[in-house]
Point group: C2
Chain length 688, copies 2
């Protein structure tokens, strides 16, 4: 327990130096009395705290309004199972091949050129630096959770290249150089130029690396940007120039930097940016699209660019976790209810519209034309993880699970070499769309997927003063400690998500009384919980079951979740799903691909299949299919093509012949991993 004691000592020491958190800090730039915090040149030089090893994906150990505290990703060792396969693909295939893609597309040359080590011209869109940073963050998390000497060496060299490109002023961006230098941080550039978005990703990578190895090379570069370039020149004071985030991201990055350094100016700067600065006037359209520039607390619904909105919500929740500002909490819950009631796909994806990569109207959830950008689903998971930290409410973990297993997991192919930008819920290959691609010129999604896979173990558990929370189920081993320092090992043995039985072996280093909070997924209508063979009552779907007892050191908790395939309807207001149902089993949403159907190819129009309320559904694991998946088979029907090629015909036109047919469904995440084929999640439904 040496480590944890060291950590606690450090935290106690650093806490003493904190400026007290003030409610209403979000409006700090309106209050001249507080201006000094952001405008005080006498602030000491920033250094990170030394306990780099023990921080989680986000470090809320000191956050006054985080009920749940994160565990470091390295404290969880993932064993043989569903995510291990995906994570091995991530580290063995995705991250290395993306490295090659980044180099091939000039993303590193952009930095090398500034050091005179490349003669290549600038390449890629304005936000291309973030591609490098997100990839670095992915490797940082990979190193946190495993030994990756080759990737580590490559990344460390790359970080030195990045740091070397930084200007003496602290400014760092490979796009706004040379002739474009004069555009730096102009209001119009801030609106579209992604300078602070890139720095936000740089800071996140820097923090991930600091937490991986204690190497602060990139972190110091990030601190230099903020301390030397940003804070002296930009902020709310009359002698400072105004900031607009443009693409939210910097907010959560600054708060993570605050958590890493305890320099409160970073938190205050994030609060200022979340508030918006009226000195940069924006059009209604910009305010909607960018989801920033006006007080976050003035938002009443999710709208505009989905990734921007999700990242803004992440930053705002981080801000709440640190300040407890009730106006933020109110807004966050209004927005979350909008998400859950109107905007989330059954896959956990968000952002229905291709135009503006944006949220649509309430209930606007088209299937084939769903945008559902991978980054937006990741942003959704990140936001819900922060809401979960604030509350311990399982509804947020349900969203995390839904997004993770479906709309995020779909984004990376089984071989790890191609990625989805869009994640539609229906697909017609005759559209000519290529859904999975090894590279996008806007390649935000691929490294975002990689950092998510790499950091995944950090999402499994949280601790509270009372004990432990178990959020996600997977063969794995936790080695961490309770808040009182008692060492704790938890071994999970399960075939989740394919089977509903989970065995938890709970082993504190010595017998201890604490609460084990196990998540009962919302989809599990009937769950069983046993401790050492004895049934525990009270498991409710969508809740944590608290098992408060004295744990002796070798207790066995057996969980059993309801794995019968479920047929789901959508709210009738989702007009595209009228008369349709989707199938889910455990956390997995399923879909039909044309090539799995027994109907001859020439009759394979998926629109002709129907699920029957009376039809039986069976589930079986097929190890040879798609790296091993559960396949659902449903006894429904299939009808031939309509009697006319016209668009409209009489409803009493003799119905096409409907024949019994077995519908075969695979997990949504695994679609489009074979030859192009029709796909649908929502299937016509016959109530009889």
């Amino acid at each position: 327990m040496k480590t944890s004691l060291t950590r606690r000592n450090f935290l106690a020491a650093s806490a003493a130096s904190l400026i007290p958190a003030a409610a209403g800090a979000s409006v700090i730039h309106r209050s001249s009395g507080l201006l000094s915090i952001l405008d005080d040149a006498t602030q000491p030089q920033t250094t990170p705290h030394e306990d780099w090893k023990n921080s989680g994906v986000i470090d809320v150990s000191q956050s006054p309004h985080a009920r749940l505290k994160t565990v470091p990703a390295r404290s969880v060792t993932v064993g043989d199972g569903f995510w291990q396969k995906r994570r091995q693909t991530n580290v063995g295939s995705s991250i290395p091949s993306m490295h090659d893609e980044l180099l091939e597309h000039g993303r590193l040359d952009n930095f090398l050129r500034l050091e005179g080590k490349s003669s290549a011209a600038q390449r890629g869109p304005v936000y291309s630096d973030s591609d490098i940073y997100k990839w670095l963050e992915a490797v940082g998390f990979a190193v946190q959770t495993g030994n990756q000497p080759q990737l580590q060496a490559t990344a460390e060299a790359m970080m030195r290249t990045v740091a070397a490109a930084q200007e003496p002023s602290g400014y760092l961006n490979t796009y706004f150089v040379g002739d474009r230098s004069s555009q730096r941080m102009l209001p119009a550039t801030q609106e579209t130029g992604h300078e602070l978005y890139c720095i936000g990703h740089m800071l996140q990578a820097a923090v991930a690396w600091y937490r991986a190895t204690g190497d602060a090379t990139l972190l110091h570069a990030g601190i230099r940007f903020v301390d030397d370039f940003l804070l002296p020149n930009y902020g709310p004071a009359p002698n400072q120039k105004p900031i607009v985030a443009g693409h939210p991201e910097i907010e959560m990055a600054l708060i993570e930097l605050y958590r890493t350094t305890r320099n409160r100016r970073y938190l205050e700067l994030a609060g200022y940016i979340l508030q918006g600065d009226p000195r940069i006037p924006l059009t209604e359209r910009q305010i909607t699209y960018m989801f920033c520039g006006v007080p976050f607390t003035s938002r009443t619904k999710l709208e505009g660019h989905a990734v921007r909105a999700m990242y803004a919500c992440c930053g705002a929740t981080d801000y709440y976790l640190e300040t407890g500002d009730p106006a933020y909490w109110k807004t966050l819950n209004v927005l979350w209810n909008d998400l859950a009631q109107h905007q989330i796909y059954i896959t956990g994806g968000v952002g229905a519209r291709a135009a503006g990569e944006s949220f649509g109207d309430p209930y606007e959830l088209p299937n084939a034309r769903a945008y559902g950008e991978s980054c937006a689903a990741i942003g959704n998971m990140m936001w819900n993880y922060r809401m979960l930290a604030a509350t311990g409410d399982a509804k947020f973990a349900d969203v995390i699970e839904r997004a993770l297993y479906n709309g995020i997991n779909s984004g990376m192919s089984l071989d790890g070499r191609t990625y989805c930008y869009r994640n539609p819920l229906a697909f017609d290959p005759s559209s000519g769309d290529r859904i999975r691609n090894p590279w996008y010129d806007t390649t935000c999604c691929p490294p975002n997927l990689e950092r998510t896979m790499a950091s995944l173990p950090g999402y499994f558990y949280s601790t509270t003063d009372d004990g432990l929370y178990v959020h996600l189920y997977e063969n794995s081993e936790l080695n961490w400690h309770l808040h009182d320092g008692t060492g704790l090992r938890v071994v999970q043995k399960t075939r989740y998500p394919w089977e509903g039985a989970v065995l938890l072996e709970v082993s504190p280093e010595h017998p201890a009384e604490f609460a084990l909070n196990v998540r009962i997924p919302a989809w599990s209508a009937k769950s069983t919980v046993r401790v050492n063979g004895e049934a525990v009552a009270g498991a409710e779907p969508g809740q944590y079951l608290q098992i408060q007892r004295r744990w002796s050191g070798s207790d066995r908790v057996e969980l059993g979740f309801e794995m019968a395939p479920q047929i789901l309807r959508a709210n009738p207001a989702v007009t595209e799903n009228t008369g349709r149902v989707a199938m889910q089993r455990g956390p997995m949403v399923f879909c039909m691909e044309g090539l799995d159907q027994t109907v001859p190819p020439e009759q394979r129009n998926l629109a002709g299949f129907s699920v029957h309320a009376s039809g039986a559904t069976t589930a079986s694991y097929d190890a040879s299919l798609l790296d091993g998946v559960v396949v659902l088979e449903h006894e429904g029907s299939h009808e031939e093509a309509p009697p006319s090629s016209s668009l409209y015909f009489a409803a009493d036109t003799p119905q096409p012949v409907a024949s019994p047919a077995t519908l075969r469904l695979i997990p949504y995440y695994s679609w489009a991993n074979r030859e192009p084929s029709e796909m649908q999640v929502w299937i016509p439904y016959i109530r009889a």
Copy 2:
């Protein structure tokens, strides 16, 4: 018959002077041998033919490939009935109030300023001149079909103002003046600047006025633009600069000018524009969006901006009617099949997407988010009218009728003072959208609707060498003649579209043998036809029934169409209509508005209503509702709101209670004429 003989003599004379139509003329600018036509300064000055009175909405009297010839709008007098009411509103309310709107928004000041008669700055978007021209065209047609002294005087003064703004070079545009003069007709300006689009509308207005009164003021201005400014400087020759239409419109206008003047250079110029000029390179996106700039005959599907595509198809069909180019005919039919099978709303609207006001993918026909711009539905009608002229195939007339009674008719409010730009098929007032507005800064739709209403009588009939075609049914009187000059009067007596009985009194000036071709609408599964009380066999839906006989001078033809309300399904590939049906009766598509339903307002969610296959539907005319409409009442059901506020729930969740309910439906065109209320065309359907 004096008039018609005069006309025929004129036509015979002018036909002799024609340059023979050459197949392959569409590629004229590739053939140096034909370049001379567009590049020959010795061409005589253009003058319109003198027979202004007897031209139809389009004048295909000389078009070699027009099987059907138009009748002048003035030859049809509309009597008391459905369209008279709408047309009186058009002339008495819409056209005058739009005049005031145009003046209030500076559209006429834009011209007056150039004459030193206004000091107001330029106002309105780049295409604002076309607002004035479309309004003038509407008045021109109003004068063709009725005595409108006040409107005529206003319009004639306005035309003098327009003509006075023309520059000595022939150039005329109120936007590209002053500092913007240097941008004139640059390729980039042609792509987005709408100069030729505006001139196209000016030419159409000019032709409408010439055909109204013989006044060629505006026509001469238009000819000057083309003869003095355009033809000498722009075209395919090496010493000419290239043209791209940008927004198709000029093509059909030039061909109508050709028909009015017989100056074949206008036809050839239209052909050159339809072919595109490779000297103006375009991106794939521009080629898709603008629907011009590459050979029309290379198109394989409807795509891009819907109005542009429809106007391009109009121009291309006009070109086919004059040249018979088989490549054009092939492409036109490919595009029409795409329209009918994949792209047309049940209302006749086209252009599903708001983004780019564009066609969507095949079967992409959302309801609440339908764009369905009024102008696109009008373009659809105009195109089908030209296809009908080429063939006499009733399938084109069916599209005209569908668009006219529904997706066009909806565009003008019952009081004539507000207009739809979008014509969605479902509506939720909580969206905050205002669907009907008196003014749009892009005010293309309002005067487009006005010119359509004003020209409507011209669409009722056509003639062929064999006799007469009746396309549309309405109380009216035709006074025209057969191709041999025999005078012909046809009186229609009907309560169409509310009732299915039509009496045609057919009165040639002397007994004559000819064919009366009466359209049997595609929606009328069982139709009866009697001549002087005797049944005539052979009426088939979606065909013209040819009644070939000797007409004595007072024959009575009685038509009876099937007016039972019909329940229609959509092709299953239209995913938003899965499990839904629409109702149609006669040519009218119906919809539900929330405020007509008997369910209490707080439960009025339209998604809860279902049509039942077994439910009875009754139709009754309500003279007091919405200026008099037939209302459908259907015995279906209504279910309460779903049991959960969440988006997704188990299909076997206890169903909401469904209670028997009478669904009340009104004609689609009449929606949104009372307080804001929910609306839907496609209604959930229960097969039982």
